[in-house]
Amino acid sequence: MNPDYYDLKKLARQVRAENGLTSTRVLQTDLRRIYFKHGIEIDYWPYRFRNLRGAFICDRFGTTVMLAQNLPQDPMVFTMAHELKHFLTDRDLQASFCDLSNINREIEIGAEIFASELLFPDHSFVEQMQSLGIKRRQCTPETLVKLKQQTKTTLSYAGLAIKAERLRYAPVGSVTKIRTWRKLEKLYNRQLAYWKSSRATGCAIY
């Protein structure tokens, strides 16, 4: 396989084009539509998993994707995109599962890259960085919060951070190690609100 997973990214862009996905906000309904088109059955499993997010099975009982029902929106969309890759390219394996233990297997890395490109293509990321005036190695956590809020993308902060480092907009390790994105988001929102109110009342900002 191409070390840069070029083919998988191309496939993801092709899926986007074929299914009219033009924005970076891909929803569960969009993916359900694609699943339906391919005859993939979805099972939202209501019972608790520790780490497992989803599994893909293709056998004599049909083609099914199982999704952990309690996943929040962004991980749910990402898992659906991830499992779609297994359907499109790994059907002959009959079955695969996705959790934190096998994330480094080549086939799983491929699925992660496919999902990331499907939700937020690299070229859109570059365009967004340019529109924010961010050059290489200038991307900060704040930039990614702004980007997520502006685009309303369903790609998670973790996904955006990986992309930012891989496309060299952020120095390696500067954003992928962050685990407190929601706290940062709240902090930046408070700062933004303060800045806006200060501007409205004419207060000086130091």
Binding site: G62, M66, F97
Partner: protein, 129 residues
């Protein structure tokens, strides 16, 4: 024996022998499942066939596999896809592995179940002209 009668007999058997033969009342089972007591009664008399999701819930309450509700000749041998999935999933957390096995069995049960439910009792409504 028809599938619906087999399922009915299995539910009754599991309920009456629950907790080392102590048994459980239909009302208590209905409470756990959040259904009406007469629903359990109808399942056990073979009037209604529980949905496959209800069977999964019953299997969890009784601590058995969902496939145990089906006649052994319908269940067949080991499933290749299930074995393949469990082989690749051996490094999963044991609880996740168990849940994945339950899911694979649920899928299998669902396919065995398709088209087997009896039409609902009650008056047939004619289409408005």
């Amino acid at each position: 024996m028809k599938l619906i009668d087999h399922v009915a007999a299995q539910i009754r058997e599991l309920r009456t022998t629950y907790n080392s033969g102590e048994g459980m009342s239909q009302e208590a089972l209905a409470r756990q499942l959040n259904v009406a007591p007469n629903t359990v009664s109808r399942w056990e008399t073979g009037l209604y066939l529980p949905s496959v999701s209800d069977l999964e819930r019953l299997a969890r309450i009784f601590g058995v596999s969902i496939v145990s509700f089906f006649p052994s000749d319908k269940v067949g041998g080991e499933d290749e896809a299930l074995l393949s999935l469990l082989r690749t999933a051996s490094q999963l957390h044991p609880e996740d592995l168990e849940e994945l096995r339950r899911y694979a069995e649920f899928r299998k049960a669902r396919r065995m179940y398709e088209g087997k439910s009896r039409p609902k009792a009650g008056r047939k409504r004619s289409r408005p002209k």
